[in-house]
Symmetry: C2
Subunit: 254 residues, 2 copies
């Protein structure tokens, strides 16, 4: 257990994107004990069926959540970008109902779940920031249900690319006009409920239509606005603005 200050600043920034915190709260977050580690692609961070006793904060690299059907088909249900904690979803649940794995190589800071629970208990404003993040993650799950349930392959993929663009932009990691997409076509298929073959064809079609440019893992968007339209993308569900609706500070009570 180290206690250096640097790494968790990324998490703090992520939380403050939507929920600004006081100095005291910030330093409470920064002084969480953690264990740094570098993980290889596909390393498990949480495993379905296990009690989730720790939470990995992504310092660099990407991770994804996945579920499997009875006959082994995989569905990726979320992607996590650097700065995000990969396990708020299990904060208060006894057994993980899905797995989280590294998408790329990356550095993480493991935080004990108990410490996280303790933090949000003693620092209600931090608890609020975490809850906001949890609610936004849920909003993204809902949009994915819509994406996979009601949009055709072309729209689905364009939508995913748009979401990724805005989330990376929000973290200051890229802009909406292009970025390094760390997913294979098979993973894109698992995230969109398609087959890799079809993903390949659709990506090519998007490229042929001048909606995306690809070279290696880099994608760029010559005409963002048109891609946005094709992807039926409306960023509202990302709730990227600071969420102010919670009015007053907290008078003590017990």
């Amino acid at each position: 257990m180290t206690n250096t200050k640097g790494p968790l600043e990324l998490l703090l920034r992520n939380l403050e994107l939507r929920t600004p915190l006081s100095e005291a709260d910030r330093s409470a977050v920064l002084s969480l004990p953690f264990t740094p580690k570098t993980l290889e692609p596909s390393t498990y961070t949480v495993r379905e069926g296990d009690p989730p006793d720790r939470c990995a904060v992504l310092l660099s690299g990407f991770a994804y959540r996945q579920k499997l059907t009875g006959d082994g088909d995989r569905q990726i249900v979320a992607i996590h970008v650097p700065g995000e904690a990969t396990d708020f979803q299990n904060l208060l649940l006894d057994v993980a109902d899905h797995s989280v794995q590294m998408l790329t190589r990356g550095d993480v800071a493991f935080v004990a779940r108990r410490d996280l629970q303790e933090l949000i208990r003693t620092r209600p404003a931090v608890g609020q920031a975490v809850l906001v993040k949890i609610l936004v993650e849920a909003a993204i799950f809902r949009e994915w249900v819509l994406n996979v349930g009601r949009r055709d392959a072309r729209t689905r993929l364009a939508h995913l690319l748009c979401e990724f663009a805005l989330r990376l932009e929000a973290e200051g990691l890229a802009d909406r006009y292009g970025y390094e997409l760390p997913m294979t076509q098979e993973q894109l298929a698992d995230a969109t409920g398609l087959t890799p073959v079809h993903v390949n064809r659709v990506l090519k079609a998007l490229q042929a239509d001048g909606l995306i440019q690809r070279s290696k893992r880099n994608v760029s968007f010559p005409d963002w606005e048109r891609l946005r339209q094709v992807g039926d993308f409306n960023q509202r569900y990302l709730h990227l603005e600071p969420q102010l609706s919670v009015t007053e500070p907290h008078p003590r009570s017990g």
Copy 2:
């Protein structure tokens, strides 16, 4: 604003299903101010784009969350059963990213969002219970992504019927061998990402195979275990047991 005690006991029971509360916490929940109202089918409880300033607790009847694509296709992303609060998902978000509507006629208790926020601030254990509920709702969203993304029509519908059975059973409203299903085939289609026509055919096939029995809106399951298998249904994601991991330190080490 009334302050009778009865109605909110249903909400309390719902929360305590997974998070038992102390006497003091219970009475704090029960003394939430609320406004009772009877709502007709398809009445909005929350509307996309609006600031969610109140939360409807379902006292009787069912509700659903839905999102729309740009060209008007509907996806139902969640169903709520009696006893549930229909708007924990917007507890700390400024603008609703989806709508909630009544599925059936039903009685609700409107609780001001501010009061709810106040409650969880002053009563951390209640806040915890609410957070557990929010996390379980997110777990259901994830399962729906899998359901809609990776399962065929037959499995998808069987899965939905199983989920419904267990959730109703948990509320003491039915058992897993049958219940009153308040959804039209069109709504079932919107919940599974299918068309009404196909839902009709698949339901008939399930019936022909002796997996379900239908008469009016009533469905029953002559062979639950087989339905469970056909629906690839594993109840883990519903987290129906009391979630104890928070209160007590873990017997395991890290």
